[in-house]
Symmetry: C2
């Protein structure tokens, strides 16, 4: 089944990626293609789209996988490979991988010769429901996540649930944190459906992704540059990012979604005090997240402050949160002093 | 005298920079300021705007001057300084200097936390009439000029002819190449005025800049992303950039405008063959440029080809030129094979 979902200036294709890629490339018969992969997606995912690439002039660039490589030195090596490949303004970059590949490959494409076209082919659940949509691109810098980057829309996003078979259980669960988030902030009707799902490996991903995407799609169309409502998507992420950075620096890295799951539990607690969430709803949310992820890791506020203070959403010394008012309803720009943050 | 010229989403202020800066900053009373300077503008230009900065929270970042420092390593050090200075999304970068400062400081601001506000205060003639308007930002990379960058509009551009007193004769003349270009491509009426000017030091810069800016302003408003008519601004620059790169690599660097002056003479010759310029007009143009700049440096096409082949405007193997049809009239997308390029 192929569905085509329109976002502002581009389309999300949900269905077999070889088919959608073939369709998109039809309009650019002579564009030179540059495919960014990592060690994992090169082996597991590239073969699944190769039928769309036959008779095309393309070059594959392979980087090492994982967040530690989403840094300026890798971006420099990608720009160098783009240059060696002779990419011109009519060339096209295909980012085949998870959030690291999409964010960094998109950033490199959006800055190469002041911007060339790129297609996102997200291969993790996390990037399929979140990172690949909304045009946020960038790299980590000086220990801060996505510190250097731009907003730029891709030519298209191609989502194929078959790629989820290439993920470990832990990675699949990590991505599911964003599905939970989308329901909590803006789709209360999806929550009773989701909470029935305990075996992620055998879930109906096409329909889950379809519905979860709809939340993000509506929000980024309404506010592409995160001036207002788009900040809702940061629920769980203010503390979640800080938790992710803290455990990374401690040498016990969490996956992004694992940190966000913990961030959502802690920010749901803040939501009872500052958002209007009831204690019953908090328990409902925490229980489901803990069934899947286990109890959130213990962490002290003092360890999170250095990162919290660098958060892009802050205003002066106050930390900005997006909190829940209800399951499926949320508000942004809740400014808290450091002393107010107790979880 | 203060004039305010509207470009799309921002204003160009032509007049005393301390006054215009004060006016612009009034609307952002609490924004933290980050002023990018080089060794030269720190000493010669910063004092001229300091009266607008009193009672403000600002930090000065000073880099080494010149094109060789418009590279990723300098950009990284600027991003690090921005991070140390604790800049948030409400902060503002003031780029005080020539094209290197404006292009690189603008690029760093446009990518820091996915983009913060910046003000261009161009201090060279070149950047006052050209680089500071139109939102082209970036750095050189792997020997290619402006190879990595983005399009992004500044909050404002503040042009003050008093800064021209801080330039050497050679730098002033270099900037004048772009004034000549603007007249040749789109303002034939300015040409008889300009050709009367032989002593650049005592020219009426306010009115020259005003009229020259008007050409660029109209063009970038009509075509901000260089899909069409904006390519006219590349007259003299296809060969000029290649000449600039060639002499840089040979250890005998030319100033940008010196390379462009040579590029304009050579491309005016191509314009006779492929553009419709008359031989008499070619002589008129060459004579005036040579009076100011001397005869163009000797160079062989073969030395320019590596750079020409990387030109952002190319289509496949053909090199794209913007050529003159008349003095004050030009056309873009003249695609030539390498064998057609004889100057």
């Amino acid at each position: 089944m192929m569905e085509k979902i329109e976002v502002d200036q581009y389309s999300i294709w949900l269905g077999p990626a070889a088919t959608s890629l073939g369709k998109v490339l039809e309009s650019f018969p002579t564009a030179r293609l540059f495919i960014l992969t990592d060690d994992h997606t090169h082996i597991c995912c590239l073969p699944l789209i190769e039928s769309a690439l036959k008779d095309r002039d393309y070059q594959v660039c392979q980087i090492r996988p994982g967040e530690p490589f989403k840094v300026i030195t890798t971006a420099i090596s990608i720009w160098q490979d783009m240059t060696s490949a002779g990419l011109d303004r009519h060339s096209m970059v295909i980012n085949l991988g998870g959030g690291v590949i999409g964010d960094m490959g998109g950033f490199c494409a959006a800055t190469y010769k002041r911007g060339i076209k790129f297609i996102q082919v997200p291969t993790t659940l996390l990037s399929q429901v979140d990172a690949s949509i909304g045009g946020k691109l960038g790299i980590d810098f000086d220990g801060y996540k996505n510190h250097i980057g731009v907003f730029q829309s891709p030519l298209a996003v191609l989502i194929d649930p078959v790629f989820l078979d290439t993920l470990s259980d832990r990675e699949l669960r990590s991505g599911y944190a964003e599905v939970i988030k989308h329901s909590l902030i803006a789709d209360g009707g999806h929550w009773p459906v989701l909470t029935q799902i305990h075996d992620l490996r055998h879930a109906d991903w096409h329909s889950i992704i379809r519905r979860s995407l709809e939340v993000k799609r509506k929000i980024v169309i309404a506010d592409p540059y995160e001036k207002g409502i788009r900040k809702l998507l940061n629920f769980g992420h203010t503390l979640g990012h800080a938790i992710e950075s803290h455990f990374l620096q401690s040498g016990m890295p969490l996956l992004h979604g694992e940190a966000i799951a913990a961030g959502m539990i802690y920010e749901a607690r803040l939501s009872v005090r500052y958002g209007g969430l009831t204690t019953g709803q908090l328990i409902n949310i925490s229980n489901y997240i803990e069934i899947l992820f286990g109890p959130p890791p213990q962490v002290e506020l003092v360890d999170l402050l250095p990162v919290l203070r660098q958060d892009k959403k802050n205003k002066g010394v106050q930390i900005s949160f997006s909190l829940l008012e209800d399951i499926g309803k949320s508000k942004w720009d809740v400014l808290l002093n450091e002393s107010d943050i107790q979880f």
